[in-house]
């Protein structure tokens, strides 16, 4: 038995649907439903910072509360990870660190900036790696010039095997001068949205022993980390599903940052991934491959000016301890074999299969003949008569597109303007200029092609919390009580997570840990 598929309704209708079937679910879980306050990377700009190292408690999504240390902005609360510093290439960065950890083991703390050259540390006392600040007073000031754009870590340089475990880590983003929407100094690194994925892992026993001031005693005289066994995993300081809650929610005062990546089809997303813990993590990007463009703040380019031509495409990135990796990701819906938008032709859905003669011709002839720079195309004399007078078609970029990343989602609209001539317009899927118009004939893309299989009846399936009730982007449909409910816009949710699956739990509770959901939103949704 097949289920009726309806085209997308408005968000208001969607809410009304829930009002009938699942209002209690909505009420109980409203915390997760709110739209994120910001879809870019939260952090501090300016270049001059006053940090204090502090103690506090973080929450895990299974209800746990664990003693941690972290960097605070000024005299604010300890936060995990520390404030994300967002500066521009060439900017002088100055961080003054004071030590406010009233703990026997916290007598000294410090900051190191891997990947930065000529860091000058003044004040405090000399430590193994850098100048250190003690609770007895004496701040340390670290100064360097952010000479190269990229994604970097910073962390404590004092007993880092313990202090990084305790939470003294953070991210530094350096933007290329004059190009705030490029990752590096090349146009091929341009992005529409950027998100941070700072990955850490935690052994709660160490935190419990530290809270009780017992840690040194179990392995005296040295502080031993060799029995470290993680049971919690974090993105930007939160375990799943807290990763998906808003940034700066009051109930996570020490974990201000979330990880709520979103884009629209065809947009390019920059993922800034950082290994700030002890283990390597295979980070899997559901939905499409990403293309790696940089490691450790250096673009993967063969010669200066070449752009990231040594980057590779992958669906699971290895994020190793101390390493950063930047990758571009884009989702276009290309080549699905059915119309993800649920578009209709002439008010009725096309049958699931079959092109008409015009579409077949457009696919085989026009799509293969158009070059990336054509503005018009002329078919052999008389061939134009195959098309209706007002023929218009949308085709994906001619040639052999790599649908995973970059500019591929460009589409061309072919309009018949003479007996054998067609003009060509270009743009991105679902932009105003190329919006679907009734009467258009669409080819090569899957526009107007219905879903290729019948879906099972609602009685035989389980709907996840991010199911809209429709397979189409922007669609919705009725769901059984208690199912779905977190997907107001009819977006496509893709889990981005560690693929060492034992890392997507919170201690003994599944799911959780190192996971979040990437949302491909329908075209009308505004993403800040």
């Amino acid at each position: 038995m097949s289920r009726a598929i309806s085209k997308g309704r408005t968000a208001m209708n969607r809410v009304m649907t829930f009002g009938r079937s699942g209002v209690l679910v909505l009420g109980a879980l409203a915390l997760f439903l709110s739209i994120p306050a910001s879809a870019t990377i939260d952090g501090l700009s300016g270049g001059t910072y006053a940090f204090s190292a502090r103690e506090g408690f973080i929450s895990t999504a299974d209800g746990g509360s664990f003693y941690c240390w972290g960097y605070a902005n000024g005299a604010g609360v300890m936060q995990f990870p520390g404030p994300t510093l967002i500066v521009n290439e060439g900017q002088v960065v100055t961080v003054t660190l004071t030590n406010a950890i009233p703990h026997a083991l916290g007598t000294k703390v410090s900051l190191v900036f891997p990947g930065q050259e000529a860091v000058v540390a003044t004040g405090g006392t000399a430590g193994l790696l850098t100048q250190e600040a003690s609770t007895a007073g004496g701040a340390v000031t670290y100064t360097f010039t952010a000479s190269q754009p990229g994604t970097y870590l910073y962390h404590s340089g004092t007993s880092p095997e313990l202090q990084c475990e305790m939470g003294l880590v953070g991210a530094l983003v350096v933007r290329p001068a004059g190009h705030p929407t490029w990752a590096y100094n090349h146009s091929a690194t341009a992005f529409d949205h950027e998100y941070l994925f700072l990955l850490t892992d935690m052994d709660p026993r160490i935190h419990e022993l530290m809270e009780l001031n017992q840690f040194p005693k179990i392995t005296a005289p040295t502080k031993d980390s060799s029995s470290w066994w993680p049971t919690f995993w974090f993105i930007n300081g939160r375990t799943g599903p807290d990763t998906m809650a808003d940034a700066f929610v009051a109930w996570l005062p020490n974990q201000p940052y979330n990880c709520n990546p979103r884009s629209k089809p065809g947009e390019t997303v920059l993922a800034r991934m950082l290994g700030a813990g002890h283990d390597s993590h295979p980070f899997h990007t559901h939905g499409a491959n990403h293309r790696v463009i940089a490691r450790d703040g250096r673009m993967l380019e063969s010669t200066p000016g070449a752009g990231p031509d040594l980057g590779w495409s992958d669906f699971t990135a290895t994020i190793s301890p101390g390493e950063t990796m930047d990758a571009l990701w884009s989702w276009s819906g290309y080549g699905m074999g059915w119309d993800i938008y649920g578009h209709q032709l002439g008010g009725t859905n096309l049958p699931g299969h079959g092109f008409d003669a015009h579409e077949m011709y457009a696919q085989s002839t026009l799509a293969s003949a158009i070059t990336p720079t054509d503005t018009a195309i002329t078919v052999p004399a008389g061939e134009g008569a195959r098309f209706p007078a007002a023929f218009r078609a949308i085709l994906y970029q001619a040639g052999a597109p790599d649908p995973d990343t970059g500019t591929t989602p460009e589409v061309v609209m072919v309009s018949r303007t003479g007996a054998d001539t067609f003009t060509i317009g270009r743009g991105k899927e679902s932009t105003t200029a190329l919006a679907w118009a009734a009467g258009s004939i669409l080819a090569y893309t899957d526009h107007g092609r219905g879903l290729t299989v019948s879906l099972p009846s609602q009685q035989t399936i389980a709907n996840g919390q991010f199911v809209s009730g429709s397979p189409f982007l922007g669609g919705s449909g009725e769901l059984p009580p208690g199912e779905g409910g977190f997907n107001i816009n009819g977006g496509l949710y893709f889990m981005w997570h560690s693929h060492n699956e034992r890392e997507i739990v919170n201690d003994n509770t599944f799911p959780g840990g190192m996971l979040t959901m990437f949302v491909v939103e329908p075209p009308w949704v505004v993403i800040p």
């Binding site: 049971t231 031509d309 699971t316 099972p456 919390q465 949710y493 599944f510």
Partner: protein, 445 residues
């Protein structure tokens, strides 16, 4: 026997029907007993290819639709520290969740019960009238039906299942199988996934429901798609390389650089026996201390990796109504001849660790990663990107990662070469040393 097997189904609380409309049309298929069951829930969808377009490049516009029917449930397999004398038949039994290929079965729901295979059957394309299934090919449209037959040993569980086609480009959520964002199929019913195979490469598949549990329990399998470049007309020029009929490539490389003679998929997996035993004995699952001690290649530890025969399980000891079944049907024994190029399609679906694998005495050229040619992005005007191939004898994969490597056996001395984990503590089958993640590559004169 049929009555007993039916009883099992009822024990598990399953009410289902075998329709198998398409499977009926295959040679040797029998009409299932649709009259015995309630509303039609087991439904195989496999429409004919009528679009008139040859999308897989083989010249035939009517054969691009391919199908497969999997069941998902539980079962038993054998670890390599089993007793080979038969004196202790239970030794090495391990309880699993998994998939079974029932495409040609006349009673697919019954044949799948307690029939989990490990690794899961490699996804292939069946076509009515085509005889044996063939590897999946770019341009084909795969209709993959998943029927949930329930967990016979765990009558308390009512887990749904999914297929996650790991790495599918520009996926939709409805067919992605990630249960929070998608639909999952309940016991006694079927869900048909549709995949327009627009990209070749080595992927993998697994159930994504309660992933830490279902994947640790074994719902993992090989999946790869052959490129269209294999089907070019004889004599086609690829740069300075001339294609000839019968040539095979890892990818649409445009230069013949990924041509191979023999390919072989190898999947890295590992089991934590304590976790499996807890699942079988209905105990709390210890996710936090999951610790895999059975490292495997294609579902076997050495020396079972080089055993040609399917390995019979011992499920009859747990479900007397059932006969034992060959639940580990594939091995990891690789054979190729001197002078050939051997393509290994290596994937990892281990749930706990990164593994490094190594070949002693042979060099590997890494040509692919993440179901993509290992090549930089296209340059301006569509000029091909730079090949990023590299030679090595060790690769490291975490869960959810794949790599294609080519071994050029020209001038290589015939003999047996070892493919093994260089995490040397994983050369063991739990307490038994000299085993685990190792197999043999036999180079034939």
């Amino acid at each position: 026997m049929i009555a007993n097997r039916l009883g099992i189904v009822l024990l598990a609380g399953i009410l289902m029907v075998s329709l198998g409309a398409w499977a009926d049309n295959l040679p040797g298929a029998k009409r299932p007993r649709t009259d015995l069951y309630g509303p039609e829930s087991v439904l195989v969808q496999c429409p004919p290819d009528t679009d008139g377009i040859d999308t897989d490049g083989d010249g035939n516009p009517s054969n691009d639709n391919v199908c497969m029917h999997l069941t998902a449930g539980d079962g038993f397999v054998k670890t390599a520290d089993r007793d080979r004398t038969g004196a202790i038949p239970e030794q090495g039994d391990i309880y699993t969740f998994g998939f079974s290929d029932v495409t040609l079965s006349s009673v697919p729901d019954l044949d799948g019960v307690c029939g989990a295979e490990f690794p899961a059957p490699t996804l292939v394309g069946y076509r009515a009238g085509a005889g044996s299934p063939e590897p999946l090919r770019e341009g084909q449209k795969l209709y993959l039906t998943l029927t949930n037959v329930g967990m016979v040993m765990r009558g308390d569980l009512f887990d749904p299942h999914t297929v996650h086609f790991h790495g599918f480009p520009n996926a939709s959520t409805i067919f992605d199988g990630e249960p929070m964002a998608s639909i999952s199929i309940n016991m006694g019913a079927s869900l048909t996934y549709f995949y327009n195979l627009v990209e070749p490469g080595t992927f993998m598949y697994h159930c994504h429901v309660e992933a830490s549990e279902h994947m640790q329990m074994g719902m993992l399998g090989n999946l790869y798609v052959l490129p269209k470049q294999d089907k070019l007309p004889d004599g086609t020029l690829l740069g300075s390389f001339t294609h000839h009929t019968g040539y095979k490539y890892a990818y649409n490389d445009g230069d013949g650089s990924t041509k191979y003679d023999v390919d072989f998929p190898i999947q890295i997996t590992s089991f934590d026996p304590n976790f499996h035993n807890a699942d079988l004995s209905i105990q709390p699952l210890n996710f936090a201390y999951m610790n895999d001690t059975y490292p495997m290649l294609n579902g076997r530890g050495y020396p079972d990796t080089v055993l040609n025969a399917p390995i019979m399980n011992n499920r009859k000891a747990y479900r007397p109504e059932l006969l034992n079944k060959p639940a580990q049907k594939v091995n990891a024994r690789v054979q190729a001849a001197v002078g050939q190029k051997l393509l290994l399609r290596i994937s990892s679906l281990a749930t706990t660790d990164f593994y490094s694998v190594k070949i002693l005495g042979l060099s590997m050229k890494v040509v692919g990663r993440g179901a993509h040619l290992l090549r930089g992005p296209d340059g301006p005007g569509g000029t091909p990107g730079k090949n990023l191939y590299y030679d090595t004898d060790t690769i490291t994969l975490g869960g959810g990662q794949t790599s294609e490597v080519i071994l050029d056996l020209a001038g290589v001395a015939p003999g047996t070469y070892y493919f093994y984990s260089s995490n040397l503590n994983h050369l063991s089958n739990n307490l038994e040393d000299y085993g685990g993640m190792m197999t043999e590559i036999e180079v034939i004169p």
